[in-house]
Symmetry: C2
Subunit: 193 residues, 2 copies
DNA sequence: CTCATTAATTGACCATGGTCAATAAAGACT
DNA sequence: AGTCTTTATTGACCATGGTCAATTAATGAG
């Protein structure tokens, strides 16, 4: 059982990812065409699919990376101690996740672990978010009658709903943080006045 | 401004929908190919796209129809008066929405109103569900410190999360109703013991 | 250094959703 | 009926993600 990774493999892969970044910068995530990508990277189409299972796999990689950067920032920042600060701490992340309809769709498709054994990169970020938020809940002035983990999962559910509504013509006039706040107040506090 | 609808238009459309039902019966929603559909209906491919904006538009129609049938049944049934019965009342609907990954994806894509003015058929079923559930909440022994409408929206968020988790290898060993129950208990009751 | 073996790459090809200029059929008017 | 206008239908064609048998490059053994 040997698996020597050739140098050129790494180079090709790096080039593909780099070009993907460039093209996305220029045309957005939804605008990325595999044909353009391989032309930019100077390889054949088949090569792309030798490195990534499909287009979604590349997208998952790139999007998970960005999500993790936001989570890094969130972990560095001070622990929020009110529902308002919970919301505002999460906003940059949500703003990214909802930056394009296509991005949001990719995230939803991968938010659960894959059907296969392997847990995908985006599913891992969802898990990470829950862990981070659980900590906040344990330390802050929030309801204690249900497990933090369950509360954190619920926050995620409300976040997803808020982002989805954000793409809806009827609701996107009001900003996501305002939309989210009443739900989290009702969810996180013992009693809403 | 005249818009006479020709008889044959209605026939063609009816034939397309009928064939779609047949093919879905045989191969599932995800297995429906437009090529097969038009062959079955005995029309050219272009005809399909003269009747439906795209494949998704047909799917939305068919899926919304099924959802509405479930909502009919739900409205006929007695009003649930406990969290447990809320969950079990919703289960057949959720079971259908999560019957195929593809179906769930279509539903998510259309769950908000479309980007355009027009509200889609699936978005309307979401609205309908919230109205139905709001009534339950108003009449039953549930928390009263937040508006019923907000509570019902929240239930929808938890339902979506539960279905999503159901497609995840890590969580689908436990049935959806068990998965959903603790969330709704925490959401709908003043105090969880 | 040469050959054998394995890994990486290629590009013609396929599947499928979607487009549109050309054509046929309906309906209206005389 | 004949002609004109509007509406419905057609199918060749396109765009794009994805496949795979054939080819080329890297690597290790002798």
């Amino acid at each position: 059982m040997k698996k020597p990774i050739q140098q050129r493999t790494l180079k090709t892969r790096a080039r593909l990812i780099e070009c993907a970044h460039e093209l996305i910068e220029a045309h957005g995530y939804a605008g990325l065409r595999i044909e353009d990508l391989v032309k930019c990277a100077g390889v054949a189409k088949g090569t792309f699919f030798a490195h990534f299972a499909d287009k979604d796999a590349l997208m998952e990689l790139l999007i998970a990376e960005r999500i993790n950067q936001h989570l890094d920032a969130i972990e560095k920042a001070p622990t929020p101690r009110s529902v308002e600060t919970v919301v505002s701490s999460l906003m940059p992340l949500l703003q990214f996740m909802a930056c394009e309809r296509y991005v949001f769709d990719v995230i939803l498709r991968h938010s659960g672990a894959a059907q296969k054994e392997e847990v995908g990169a985006i599913a891992m970020t969802f898990d990470r978010q829950v862990r981070v938020v659980s900590h906040w809940l344990a330390e802050g002035p929030f309801r204690k009658d249900v497990p933090d983990r369950l509360l954190a999962d619920g926050i995620q559910a409300f976040c997803v709903q808020t982002m989805a509504l954000n793409f809806c013509a009827l609701h996107n006039s009001i900003p996501m943080d305002e939309q989210l706040l009443p739900y989290l107040k009702a969810w996180l506090l013992e009693k809403v006045d």
